[in-house]
Amino acid sequence: MLRRGDYLIFLATLLLLPWLYFTLWGDQRAGEYAQILVGGDQQALVSLHQPQTIEVAGALGLSILEILDGKIRFITSACQGKQCIHRGWINLGGEVVSCLPNQVSIAILGGEQRFDAINF
């Protein structure tokens, strides 16, 4: 014979379990925030889940960043080589993309950091 309280406990459990599977078994490598640095100092901390374009004033001029669907990239930058733009989207925790001439860099925070450092 089940009581109302039993159903309540079952309900809570049935909500808890899928949530656990989802959060602990899902792709945890994706980060949550992008830290935008100019010359090594944090300028802004933005959520990757809020689509927007951001203008950052670097050493040479403006760098424009785009956030979409949990990813971020450089779309324009006041540098010569444009390597920051070539790198494309980044979204994994611990990933870093930087425009060295303009001294603007983006680091992804949150997510499971699989690596302590990236060699390239």
Binding site: G5, I9, L17, L20
Partner: protein
């Protein structure tokens, strides 16, 4: 047909009653620890049946005594006292007793919402697993990969909770029938 002598057994001092139930829990605990298990530390937790039965029959304080005596005496008898196994077992017991306690005293205020043996048992099993897992993570293996196991363990806890809840319900039923019929074993 209630005779004074039998009534005396039913109204024995609380300590005696706790000792009797604790002894039962400890026996189950030891038997269960001798059985092989597919995953170390993953057990049906049949000793919890006794704790749930005591909770419903006599209240949370008695259940707490039974639970703690089970962990303490059980580990002394098996020889795991103060080992990691004991600490995990103790954390699990404390966590499940805290969850049961909160629910028990809330349901006293809202009697219509009081769970039965099955609800308490599922709750206790989940809290027990969560407590044990936290202790294992903090004290034994603080590796993030351990979290991958948690959903599976919690699912197992749900199944085990349902099983021991049904056994506890049957046990409570028997005890209450005996109490009503006035016979005792």
């Amino acid at each position: 047909m209630s005779e004074p002598g039998y009534r005396q057994i039913l109204t024995q001092p609380r300590d005696h009653r706790i000792a009797w139930w604790a002894a039962l829990a400890i026996t189950i605990h030891i038997v269960e620890s001798a059985l092989p298990s597919p995953i170390p530390g993953l057990k049906l937790g049949l000793a919890n049946v006794v704790v749930i039965a005591v909770l419903i029959l006599y209240g949370w304080r008695d259940a707490l005594w039974v639970a703690l005596l089970r962990v303490l005496v059980g580990s002394l008898l098996i020889g795991t006292f103060l080992t990691p196994t004991f600490i995990l077992s103790l954390t699990g017991a404390v966590a499940s007793m805290l969850a049961l306690g909160v629910t028990y005293y809330f349901s006293r205020m809202l009697p219509n919402w009081a769970p039965g043996a099955l609800g308490y048992s599922v709750l206790a099993a989940q809290a027990h697993m969560l407590g044990q897992f936290t202790a294992a993570y903090l004290l034994l293996i603080p590796h993030p990969a351990l979290f991958k196991l948690l959903p599976v363990l919690m699912t197992a806890a749900l199944v085990f909770g349902v099983i021991s809840g049904m056994i506890a319900a049957a046990m409570i039923d028997k005890v209450e029938k005996r109490a009503h019929s006035g016979t005792s074993g």
